[in-house]
C-alpha cells in the first residue's frame, strides 16, 4: 500500500495537505454514485418515452427522388398551408430508390420519382402502391399524351403520375461546331478527337448509343449481338475520341463552357446552366433519335402517411406546381395549362408546342421501356446491359 501511495504521489495524482489529508486528483469534475445513477435514470426515461421522431410524426411525408422535384410540394406554399412537412432524400439514380425500398424502405417511405421505364418493374416486384386517381383530380389536367401513357400502368392500374419530361440529346459548342451535328456518329469526326464528352449516366448513354448503333427506335429491345455492337462502339469512342467520362451534368456544363469538350451526350438544362456561365451551348436531336424520359411521382407500398401523400401528389400535378418546378429545374411539364406559365427561357430550350411529334421523332412515339428483366429469347436483358456498362467503364 505504501509503495502504491508513493507511486501515486510521484505521478502527481495525489495531493497531500498539511493536516495529513490526501486528495486524489481526477480528470474533470468527479461524480457521485447517486449523481451517476440519476443521470442513467434520466437517460433511460428519455429512451423509454422516445425521442421526437420526425419521420413518423403526423403530417410528415418522406420523399426520395430527384433533387428539385420536391419544389412542387412547396409551390404556392401548399405543404405549409396543409401543415405537411417533407423529409426529403435525394437519389443518384432510380436504382438507388429501389435499393432503399428493398432494404427496409417499405412502410417508411411515401413518395418516389421513378421514370416510366422503371414504374412497371417497381410495381411488379411490389415496391409501389396503385394510385387511386379519384384522389388526384388534377390528373385530368395533364396533356392526354401523358394521361394515356402505358408506362405508368401495370395490370390495368396506374402506379405513377407523369410529372416531368426531359430530353437527353446531343450537345455541342457552336464556337467550335457551327452547324448542328446531324448524327450521333459525328462524334467520330477526326477534328473532334479528344474533345468528345461521355457521361456516367448509364441509362441515357446506353439508350442514345443503342438508337444510333442499331438504328432502331425500340432501342431497349435489341439482341445480345446488337448490344455487343453498342458496347464496342462505346469503347471505341472512349478509347480513341473521348476527353473524359464526366461524373455529372454540372461537370459537363463546366467542360462544355470552358471548351475542354466540344460535343457530348447531354441533358437540356445544361444549355441554361452554360448560359449562366456566359457560354453558348446548344442541343440537337440527331436523326437516329434521343432519349426522352418521363419522370413520375409514385407512392411506395405500405406508405405511412397516405392522406398527406395524396394531397401532395395532387398538388404536384397542378399547373402552378408544375410550372414552378419546371422554371426552377429547366424541365418540361406534363400539365397542359402549365405550359403558359413557363418562363420564356424554359420554352426556348424545351419545346412544348408538339409533344407527341417530338416523342415520335426521338423515340418512335413513346418513352422507351426498360430492357427486359427476365430472359426473353435473344433479347438483351437489363442485366446484360448493366454488365455491358461495367465493361465499358473498366475498358
Amino acid at each position: 500500500m505504501t509503495r502504491l501511495l508513493d507511486k501515486l504521489k510521484k505521478a502527481g495524482l495525489i495531493e497531500s495537505y498539511p493536516n495529513g489529508m490526501m486528495r486524489i486528483r481526477t480528470m474533470g469534475s468527479s461524480m457521485t454514485r447517486r449523481q451517476f445513477t440519476g443521470l442513467m435514470a434520466a437517460g433511460a426515461g428519455l429512451a423509454a418515452t422516445g425521442f421526437p421522431s420526425a419521420g413518423f410524426a403526423a403530417g410528415n411525408v418522406r420523399y426520395m427522388g430527384w433533387q428539385g422535384y420536391e419544389e412542387a410540394f412547396s409551390a404556392g406554399d401548399f405543404a405549409a398551408s396543409q401543415n405537411i412537412t417533407l423529409s426529403p432524400t435525394f437519389q443518384n439514380d432510380n436504382g438507388h430508390a429501389m435499393t432503399v425500398i428493398a432494404s427496409g424502405g417499405k412502410g417508411n417511405m411515401d413518395i418516389v420519382t421513378p421514370d416510366t421505364a422503371y414504374t412497371a418493374l417497381m410495381a411488379e416486384v411490389g415496391m409501389l402502391a396503385p394510385i387511386d386517381l379519384a384522389r388526384i383530380p388534377n390528373f385530368s389536367e395533364l396533356d392526354p399524351f401523358f394521361q394515356n401513357n402505358e408506362g405508368v400502368r401495370h395490370n390495368g392500374e396506374v402506379y405513377a403520375l407523369p410529372f416531368v419530361w426531359t430530353i437527353i440529346p446531343l450537345m455541342y459548342n457552336p464556337a467550335h461546331i457551327p452547324e448542328a451535328p446531324e448524327s450521333w456518329f459525328d462524334i467520330l469526326k477526326p477534328e473532334y478527337k479528344g474533345k468528345v464528352g461521355m457521361t456516367n449516366d448509364m441509362i441515357s448513354m446506353m439508350v442514345c448509343f443503342s438508337l444510333a448503333v442499331t438504328g432502331r427506335k425500340d432501342a431497349t429491345r435489341i439482341s445480345r449481338a446488337e448490344l455487343k455492337e453498342v458496347l464496342d462502339f462505346l469503347i471505341k469512342v472512349k478509347k480513341n475520341h473521348a476527353r473524359t467520362v464526366v461524373s455529372s451534368y454540372g461537370e459537363l456544363t463546366d467542360l462544355l463552357a470552358s471548351g475542354e469538350i466540344w460535343i457530348s451526350q447531354g441533358w437540356v438544362p445544361v444549355q441554361l446552366w452554360a448560359k449562366g456561365k456566359g457560354a453558348d451551348i446548344r442541343w440537337t436531336v440527331p436523326k437516329e433519335g434521343a432519349h426522352v424520359p418521363i419522370d413520375c411521382m409514385a407512392i411506395v407500398k405500405d406508405n405511412p402517411n397516405p392522406d398527406d401523400t395524396y394531397a401532395l401528389l395532387n398538388h404536384a400535378m397542378s399547373a402552378e406546381a408544375q410550372a414552378h418546378t419546371a422554371n426552377v429545374n429547366a424541365t418540361g411539364v406534363t400539365n397542359a395549362k402549365a405550359i403558359g406559365m413557363l418562363n420564356q427561357e424554359i420554352l426556348d430550350i424545351q419545346p412544348h408546342d408538339d409533344i407527341t411529334g417530338f416523342f415520335e421523332a426521338s423515340t418512335g412515339g413513346q418513352p422507351l421501356p426498360l430492357w427486359p428483366t427476365e430472359a426473353d429469347g435473344d433479347l438483351a436483358t437489363f442485366d446484360d446491359v448493366l454488365d455491358a456498362w461495367d465493361k465499358f467503364l473498366s475498358a
Binding site: 438507388h96 472512349k238 467520362v245 461524373s247 471548351g259 456498362w389 467503364l393 475498358a395
Partner: protein, 284 residues
Amino acid sequence: MKNGRFPYARILPVLPSVLVFTAFFAVPLAYFFIISFWRVRAFQLRPDATLAQYEAVFLDYSGPLIFTLGMALAIGLTTTLIAFAFAFFCRFRAYRFGTALIFVTLLALFGGYLTKIYMWKTILGSAGILNSALLAIGLIDNPITALLYNPVAVVITLVHYTLPLAVLPIYGSLKGIDDIPLEAARDLGASRMRIFADIIVPQCRVGILSAFSLSFIFAAGDYVTPLMVGGPSSSMIGLFIQNQFGTRLNSPLGSAMSFVVIGCCVVIILTVAAALFAVTRRRD
C-alpha cells in the same frame, strides 16, 4: 476482478467508443459479410450460401481491382515518401519553426475533399492556371491536354489530399526519438546516413506504416477522384461497388467486392510492414 468486483471504473470510459464501434462498424460489416454469400432474385435479397459473388469478382472485375490496388500502392508509397521528408525536415531541420510547419500542415486539411479535386481541375485543365501561365510566358503554343484526365492526375490529387494525414503519424514518431542516442552516435563517428538508417528510421517504423496505411486505404476506397480527374480509362473498383449498391441493386456482389478489396488491402499492408521491418531492423 482480483477482489471479485468488476472494474466498472476502468471499463466505463471506453464503453461509448466500444458501443459506437460495435453498432456502426462491426455489426454493419458483419451484415454485409453475411449477405456477400446471398443472391438477388427479382431485385430482392435471397438468403443462400454461395461463393458465386466472389467468383464474379475475380472473373469480371479483376481488371479494375488490379488497377485500383496498383494506383493505391503508388499513391501510398509516394505520399509516405513525401510525408517522411517533410516530417523529417520539421523535426530535425526546421528547429523552432517545426511545430508551426506542422500546424500549417493541419490547416491543409481544411477545405474538404471535393474542393481539392476541383482545385486540381482548375490547375491542370486546358484552360487552367498551369496551362494559362505556360501560354502567357510563351513556353507552349497550345494548352497541354495531357495534364488532366489521366491516372497521373489521380495520383497527384490523392497524394495532395492524403499528405497531411500521412505527415502527422510520422512526425509523431520522429518527435519521440531521443536526441541523446543521436548525439552519442555522432560523437562516436557515425555518418549521417548511418544514423538515419540505424537509429532514426527503425524508431519511426510504426509511424511510417501508419502513414502508408492511411493513404493506401483511402486511395483504394476512393472512386470520386478517378471519376473527376482520371479520364476515360481510370475507373477504380469503388465505382463498381457503388454501382452494385445503386443501379445494379446487387448488394451481395457489392459486399463481396468490398470484402475482396479489404482482404487485398490487408495483405498488401502486411507485406509492406514485413518488408519495412525486414529492411529497417533495429540494431540493438
